[in-house]
């Protein structure tokens, strides 16, 4: 009998212990905020971010900042979504893809910054200082939603030594790009020992966009529900990509699962040109024993080149108290300070987000030593709009399916893009 009672008491105690939650909140004036940050590049970003957080705390003694590193962009977004859907406390500030704006705002995962900016002295000058290409994804429904933070662009890296040694000129249109790539492809029997160009398929839509623009039509329209997948210019661009392997033999055929391999291939001199993120610039410059050239992707017409921005912005996550919202916004402004934007750019290779950052002494010194870093800024001056629209996840996945089918020769470029346009229009119908 006492044994049974004891078992019952133990069970109840155990159940209580298991289900008991919550801990007493400290009753102080301090505001504690978290910033969710995706690690997307090969640089010591966690150390850099920790340093910024400590510096912010030193300036704002009543705020504690805890950086949360939860994986890449996808992981951070999923983490924010599950935390909010589950009614938990999500980090106050998060770096998420600039293109995620519409879905995040529609689903009320983020809060607008408009009111906070209105209260901020000199906010117009502050916003005007950001590179305009980077602010393109910050406005929606009459509100301002995000501040550019770690931003990049699609660029073509070329081995300038290899090109001049072969007596060639730097490519300036589709034909010369294909010819240079073909001339710099080296074969030993059937085996290729050096590729002329590598165009990886990680982020398929992103690396393809400058090519489509070069063909005469960006895949996305200016509003938030229009895509131009079956435009002749887009189809032309796919056919050009295929011709680089099929006609010129200058790049491996088909979809290339090689995002992480092409930078090592390039710096070791095994590939003459690569298409990659400008975020790899620091790592390329520090490793390459040759003269590295950086430019936009040459277009079909002579003398044109194109690029699109990429990367992540700072978002205010919804469900904040007034104090948390203000602290998170202050932190966002602190992180985008010109000197800090310059420092972050130098340390990581991301493009400094503000014009005044390029006036920073350290940045000037860095650009003087590495002119390519200044080059990325001018490449973006005539950059197009990155694929960003309503229902982005689904539309992007439709486009990827058909782009890859065309790359792999399973469908003709025209048939694939017709199907992609049809499915994307259906997926966007509810949003028009």
């Amino acid at each position: 009998m006492p044994k049974k009672v004891m078992i019952v008491v133990l069970m109840v105690a155990l159940a209580t212990a298991v289900f008991a939650t919550g801990s007493p909140e400290p009753e102080t004036e301090t505001v504690a905020i978290e910033i969710a940050y995706p690690v997307a590049i090969d640089a010591p970003v966690t150390e850099i971010l920790d340093g910024y957080a400590r510096a912010f705390e030193a300036e704002n003694p009543n705020v504690t900042v805890k950086p949360v590193y939860a994986g890449g962009y996808g992981d951070v977004k999923t983490m924010i979504q599950t935390t909010i859907d589950g009614g938990g406390d999500a980090p106050a500030l998060a770096v998420m893809l600039a293109t995620d704006l519409f879905d995040l705002a529609n689903a009320e995962y983020i809060e607008p910054m408009t009111a906070l900016l209105d209260d901020m002295p000199g906010s117009d000058a502050y916003l005007a200082d950001f590179l305009s290409a980077f602010l393109a994804n910050s406005y929606y429904m009459g509100n301002m939603w995000s501040l550019p933070f770690q931003r990049s662009a699609v660029v073509l890296y070329y081995n300038a030594d290899m090109i001049s040694d072969a007596g060639l000129d730097v490519p300036n249109d589709w034909d010369s790009l294909a010819e240079v790539a073909s001339a710099l492809t080296v074969r030993d029997g059937d085996t290729v020992t050096q590729w002329g160009i590598e165009w990886p398929s990680g982020w398929p839509y992103w690396l393809f966009q400058p090519l489509a623009m070069g063909g005469g039509q960006n895949i996305v329209g200016d509003d938030d529900t229009t895509v131009y997948f079956d435009d002749p210019g887009v189809i032309d661009a796919i056919e050009y990509y295929i011709s680089l392997s099929a006609d010129y033999g200058a790049t491996p055929a088909g979809v290339q699962a090689a995002w992480g391999n092409v930078v090592p291939n390039f710096v070791s001199g095994n590939t003459a040109m690569i298409v990659h993120s400008s975020g790899s610039l620091s790592s390329v410059l520090s490793q390459a024993p040759f003269e590295v050239g950086v430019m936009g992707i040459p277009g079909k017409r002579r003398g044109t080149s194109y690029s699109v921005p990429g990367g992540g912005n700072l978002y205010l996550v919804s469900g904040l108290t007034d104090a948390e919202r203000q602290a998170a916004f202050d932190l966002a402004v602190f992180l985008t300070d010109p000197a800090r934007a310059a420092d972050f750019s130098i340390q990581t290779g991301y493009i400094a987000t503000r014009s005044s950052a390029f006036e920073d002494a350290a940045m000037k010194e860095y650009v003087a030593a590495n002119p390519q870093a200044g080059e990325t800024r001018s490449i973006l001056a005539d950059g197009g709009k990155e694929l960003s629209l309503q229902n982005l996840g689904q539309v992007r996945s439709i486009f990827h399916n058909y782009l890859q089918a065309a790359y792999n020769g399973e469908m003709s470029a025209a048939a694939a893009m017709r199907a992609a346009q049809e499915e994307a229009d259906a997926a966007l119908a509810d949003f028009r």
């Binding site: 049974k4 159940a15 996808g74 879905d103 309503q390 996840g393 996945s397 792999n408």
Partner: protein
């Protein structure tokens, strides 16, 4: 009076004992299942204001999904993946177990088992190096035999899914081996002695004694392996992201896409229901078939 009290207590105690487990099962299994079934009949899409709150949609989610060629392909991918991973892993696990059940080979057990203790994410990352185009381990190995392709395992539409099968096989065979090892070590020695005395050869012994005697183990391992195969998704994230053209997309990966990228909660619930139904159908038929064989024997 006192008799009655005792009776009540006897009835109460078992329930109290399973209470914590029951609460967990209700909270984390029964409630989500029911809520998914209910959710699958509603149109709820977080990125469309008018569908942010659920709107009744009948069997619309089911007809949308099953009517889409893309979803049918993902379903087919998943079935092919499971049908490839489970039997090969099981046969290999049994083979390893037979080989390593001898004391003198015991030291190899850790070598076979070690992939199991790696997280799938690490395993998949290691395999990325094997599958790398151009200079990856596999291509280098094949080139040694004078074969110059296929070069791009994870991006080739005809090989991406099989690359995932290969990774899962490498990772899981050692795990299921442990169950077979335990099963083999519990086999009755006298039966084997008698069989040997009767002059049965090794093949007869294997097929007429070992395999039937291990049926219980096999039932358990198949069930766990099938559920495991449906559930694994980490390597899809790391190696192929379901590509190229969704040719290596699996049900659970697509579920993640629909829920977190398309923000379509109703459709995600529907995929969950289909996944649970598939698993239930398999597990129940597996048990029924196995039980019938046991009673026949």
């Amino acid at each position: 009076m006192s008799q009655l009290r005792t009776k009540t207590k006897v009835h109460l105690l078992p329930y109290l004992l399973i209470l914590p487990t029951l609460l967990f099962v209700i909270l984390f299994t029964i409630y989500p299942t029911i809520s998914s079934i209910v959710g699958s009949f509603f149109q709820q899409r977080l990125n469309i204001p008018r569908y942010r709150d659920p709107v009744f949609y009948g069997i619309g989610n089911y007809t949308d999904l099953l009517g889409s060629a893309g979803f049918r392909m993902i379903l087919g991918n998943t079935l092919r993946y499971v049908a490839a991973v489970v039997p090969t892993t099981l046969v290999a696990a049994l083979g390893f177990a037979l080989w390593l059940s001898h004391k003198r080979h015991a030291r190899f057990r850790i070598a076979i088992f070690h992939p199991t203790i790696l997280p799938m994410v690490s395993a998949a990352t290691i395999w990325m190096f094997f599958l790398t185009p151009d200079y990856g381990l596999f291509n280098t190995f094949l080139r040694f035999f004078g074969y110059s392709g296929p070069e791009n395992w994870a991006a080739n539409p005809n090989m991406a899914l099989w690359s995932l099968v290969l990774i899962a096989f490498w990772k899981d065979a050692g795990f299921y081996m442990i169950f077979y090892l335990a099963g083999i070590q519990n086999l009755p020695g006298d039966v084997y002695e008698a069989a040997k005395l009767d002059g049965a050869g090794p093949l007869t012994i294997f097929f007429k004694f070992t395999v039937p005697l291990l049926r219980r183990t096999t039932l358990f391992v198949t069930t766990v392996a099938v559920i495991g195969a449906f559930r694994t998704v980490d390597h899809v994230f790391i190696v192929t992201q379901g590509g190229p053209s969704s040719r290596s997309s699996l049900l659970l990966y697509h579920l993640w896409q629909v829920r977190f990228e398309y923000l379509n909660i109703g459709q995600a619930s529907t995929i969950t229901v289909l996944l649970v139904a598939l698993l239930l159908a398999f597990t129940i038929s597996n048990f029924v078939i196995s039980e019938r064989r046991t009673t026949d024997a």
